[in-house]
Amino acid sequence: MKEYCKIENLTFRYFEESKRNVLENVNLSFEEGKVTVLLGNSGCGKSTLAAVLCGLYPENAGYLESGRIVIDGVDMEKLSFRERCRYTVQMFQNPDLQFCMKDLREELYFCMENIRVPREEMAARAESTAEKYGAADLLDKPFAVLSGGEKQRAALVCLLLLDPKILVLDEPFANLDEISTKRYLDVLKKKIAENRTTVIVIDHKASNWLDLADRYVVLGEKGSVLRENISPVDLASEREFFRSAGLLDPFAVPQRKHVAPHGGEDAREAGEAFAANGEHAETTAQTEPGGCGHDDRESVISLTNVTIYHNKKVSVLTDVNLHCRKGEMIAVLGPSGMGKTSLFLTLLSQKKYTGSLRVNGEELNRMKKGEIFNRVGIVFQNPAHQFITTNVQKEVALSLRIRKGLAEEEAEERALPLLEEFDLRPFRQFSPFMLSQGQQRRLGVLTMLAGGQDILLLDEPTYGQDGRTTRAIMDRCQKLSEEEGITVLFSTHDKELAREYADRFWIVEGGSAHEEN
């Protein structure tokens, strides 16, 4: 293998005086024009490795004890950011934090200014690049109104304009639906075919890259290389290894695990039908009150002819008729930006609606806010928004204290096994803001699960998680649903996950929402 990009003996930690290396003696190399997918458990140092590779660390944070990166025979250490972006550029997990300008056109100008493109050429080049990579429609739309998928596509176009030799993508399908993912991959394929661009991708789902990947590399603790050369052809023979390493099985056929505590045969059949069809099957039953089977369980959430408003004039979802019962797990599916989060916010009385929305039989509009929050909990897409202490253990303990009335010491003690279950115990003294994105999400889910509300709304709870932690989060939800009758609504783009855990599916698309079999 011709070593086009070489990472040599890399040791990195966030604090010089810290004893815990995030990366330790990492050696890896990448071939020109090939697509390499880096897999590994959440928190194993994948994102840190990407940032070091692109020169963003230690420039912005951390301490590089040893090691160097050589690309095409050039030592990266000596290069400025301007020179470096000719070699490596990185796309980040969070689509909201990739742009400093107002819209894609201005952002493309910004990129061109960075690499000193003459002013006269900029306008034409921005147009042609956007046109070439199918983003002409995004050029003048403010980023603030773009969906997550559109932002990721816009970010990719900016990077492609810089024409780097190596493209580093850190979980690029962050909250992307299937259509957005496909459009994104099409753009990438085009670039690789044209320029022999080397692509290094960080992802948890090997199956996302079956068409494009040349090899998979599995990283372990501190960035150690567990498997360096798994080709897509050999992936099937490595399933046992994937499972033992706690990674998502690339060929797992979803088996529906969750059976609602009481009956729910109809729901089971619905789930199986969904699993068999894969794509959205034809809607067979617009639910009516009590219309989802013959279950006599208490109705927990009931929306009848509900229209949800973004503001006084604009509605997000119209004529929604949905119902769920105590102890059910409902997967909320649908393309990005269609109103899944708005639906959740409405259940927390944060959006105006007309029609009838009942929670535990009471009309939401007539309930006091405090009462709603006692019954309904939420985990946001960006979990960093919900941390209210500066210590991981205290964060979980606080939920136990407030909701379950435990004393401080007891709450902190009871928090430990929960942290253990979610692989967060080693970080119990860390600030929540210091955790990796995957760890933050687990902590966000955990704080809410410990809160003791009857209804939990989880907005993309397993995005960015490896196989083990995905299972830990969803199994915990399932346990709460089965044993304590907690109702769980989780939005996801991961249909396998939905098939595995949900009793029923709510589809949010085209300005409305319905149940689908």
Partner: protein, 237 residues
């Protein structure tokens, strides 16, 4: 108007604002307001926004007018000792003072709007980089922060909601919420800085090309002189 060099415009407006502090002339304050209004009409400024801004300004101006007028009249009556002619003249002075003071509020408001409603944030930052040699690091930081405002606003709402859902009763202005928002903002700034650097942004690059080019022309200087001259005439009157 939109073509006036933003840096020149910025300093002209500052100078005019300082001079307005010493300008008690009704006529010249009115002239300044008229000039600003004409300039905004020429620049096709957003008049809906202008009217919204004028609403609170009017409230302040009317309050100041009434306070000055009534206070001045009361003082006049005491000082006049009931002399009707003298009282009348004091009334006239109070009315003039009150009008001058409240017009000054409008003059400030119009100067501010003249700048803000006719100058784009990009134009100002590019111009400051080119005319004042401000480092790109500062200019783009301001632009990025400005463009992130809608996201920050949304985020603040989410943090507030998160506190409430966790069972912590907080008000929108609670320091706890502000602290969480601040920590998140710091994280935002780090992430954004890395995203910018990943795209080749070099804070020390003095030779970066710029999409928007600004020069200071004679017309800009002339415009600045006129803006500053109007309140200066009032001061010297």
């Amino acid at each position: 108007m939109r073509k006036i060099n933003p840096t020149v415009k910025f300093f002209a407006v500052i100078a005019a604002a300082v001079l307005t502090a010493f300008n008690f002339s009704l006529f010249w304050n009115l002239a300044l307001i008229g000039f600003c209004l004409a300039a905004m009409i020429l620049a096709k400024a957003n008049f809906k926004r202008l009217l919204w801004i004028l609403l609170p300004i009017t409230l302040v101006a009317v309050s100041l007018f009434m306070a000055t007028y009534l206070n001045g009249r009361a003082a006049g009556e005491v000082g006049a000792g009931g002399e009707s002619f003298f009282t009348m003249s004091i009334h006239g002075a109070s009315l003039r003072d009150a009008a001058a003071l409240s017009l000054r509020i409008y003059a400030y408001a119009f100067l501010g709007m003249l700048f803000s409603l006719t100058t784009g944030s990009n134009d100002l930052c590019y111009s400051l980089m080119q005319q004042l040699k401000i480092r790109p690091k500062f200019a783009y930081s301001v632009l990025a922060a400005f463009n992130l405002l809608p996201a920050l606003q949304k985020e603040y709402g989410q943090i507030l909601l998160a506190y409430k859902v966790r069972g912590d009763r907080v008000s929108p202005l609670s320091p706890k919420v502000a602290f969480s928002a601040l920590v998140n903002t710091m994280h935002y700034s780090e992430s954004l800085a890395m995203a910018m650097e990943s795209k080749g942004f070099d804070e020390n690059d003095r030779e970066r090309t710029m999409y928007l080019a600004f020069r200071v022309r004679a017309a800009d200087i002339l415009w600045a002189i006129v803006v500053a001259l109007i309140p200066l005439c009032g001061v010297l009157q």
